[in-house]
Amino acid sequence: MNTLQQVLIIARLAVEENIRKKILYILLFFSFLLIAFSASFTSFNLGAQLPIMKDISLSGISLFGIIFTLSIFLNVIPNEIEHKTIYPIVTQPITRGIYILGKYIGMMLLVAANLIILGAELMIVLFIYGDGWNWMVPQAIVLNILQCGILGAIMLLFSLITSYPLALSTTIFLFIVGGISSPYVKYLSGKLPETLINGIVILKLILPKFDCFNIKDAIVHSHNLLPGYFLWCLIYGLAYIAVIIILAAFTFDRKDL
């Protein structure tokens, strides 16, 4: 109970700390515009309009989430260590794990809030353009949040281990490899050296399957998801996040501040 209270306080502090970052508003502003005017990217052919709007908007939302997540998770803890504003916090009766979890939750709340805003906008825009209330969009947003959650957790873990240019490039690399779908690996296998393909296949075994959080194609083509797919992704994503955050907490536990 007390632990939970402390986690939430750290989370609130993290929100207060990061909500003042300009990059948040710049990204949000452009994504908002992108969705609002997604119709103008299409021809006047009404039949083709909706799929293209969905495609552009969902890609925009996904990209926004990724960039925003990376930018806030990139150096929030290294910064706090560097400026030692962490001192008055970790000398309170909390464990390092509470600190990590609180920070993570706080920053993810910001990510989630922004993605929800964009998702709501997209639903409204689609409604206006005659798609009705598209209930696949909220699911896409939740999966997007999960994807950002995994990405952020990985970024946070690496930012505790190494310098941030390396942490950032490793995270992006892992994200790209983790996002390659299995059919695509098969497709590549003729074109790239065999050792590289084997490396990718092995890496993909432990990396999160980022591609599964992307249901854009289903939405664009108005397909339904397989039954249980959403739930499976939810559990998978949360479990993955838990593992990485626990790793991060252990890494942080013995770190000299």
């Binding site: 502090l13 008055p88 970790v90 009766p93």
Partner: protein
Amino acid sequence: MALAIETEQLSKIYSSERKKIYALENLNLQIEEGNVFGFIGPNGAGKTTAIKLFMGLISPTSGKVSIMGKEAGSPESKKEVGYLSEIAYYYTFMEAETLLRYYASLKLIPRNEIKDRIDINLKLVGLDDRKKQKLKSFSKGMLQRFGIALSLIGNPKLLILDEPTSGLDPIGRKEVKDIIKRLKNKGITIFLSSHHLSEVETVCDTIGVINKGKMVCIKKLADLLNYDKKVYTLLFTNKNQKINSILTQKGFKIREEKDGFLRLTTAQENLSEVFKMIAEAEETITDLFPGYSDLEETFFNLIMPEKANSENLSTKIEKVTI
């Protein structure tokens, strides 16, 4: 009596760029509850390193440390400790009161008590009229006061203060000393570090001197003061500018006073020799009194005689004439 701070062969080695820095070596400390301990040493001596180990901010390379009988750095130990860092490291975008409220909630202080505690402690450090002000508009001394208020917010049994008077003006320093005295009377254990003995001599029961990572000595203040009886300090003129080198050649340490007078502290048996030399140089003794003129001098002459001239301590002795 129970021990507030206990260390056993506590060591911290920093390894950086193939070089090893022995920041703290085999520190053995036992500080009883209710004690006020002054931790004195020059820059880089290892004071902050020791304090960070007490707070669990860094892990020891070897050895053990327990705080209030609990493992250093554990939430249970930190619950009973108030800590003031060497430099103010707070979120400057927040108002003093808001930030204190966050820290107080992290300390799990009951919600209905938080407001009173904040008001009491901000008043104690003289910031009660600034509580709605953002920390970025605070001066260095105000931040230091804020830090003291923060360290007290949890009604700690043990206070660990890293240079609590640094950055404060003379009035502020006196106020901090008064606060420490008041807390001491309440029975709170206090561990404070400082460069200057004179900063802490009026409040501490026990004083430990650390230099280059090693504890040089630990003494009760009362024992220290007893040394005074065996020596005399004399002040004399320096009209002919000769006496200084004559005495220095004989191995005496002379201190130049601001108004041009010279000062010398020496054992009783040397007095007649010194008198003679001063008279021969046609200088006048203007003052003579038993003991050291200040505790600072007591320390660096009696506790560490062989080190009194070493470069690390030169900050202590402002002017040593060669």
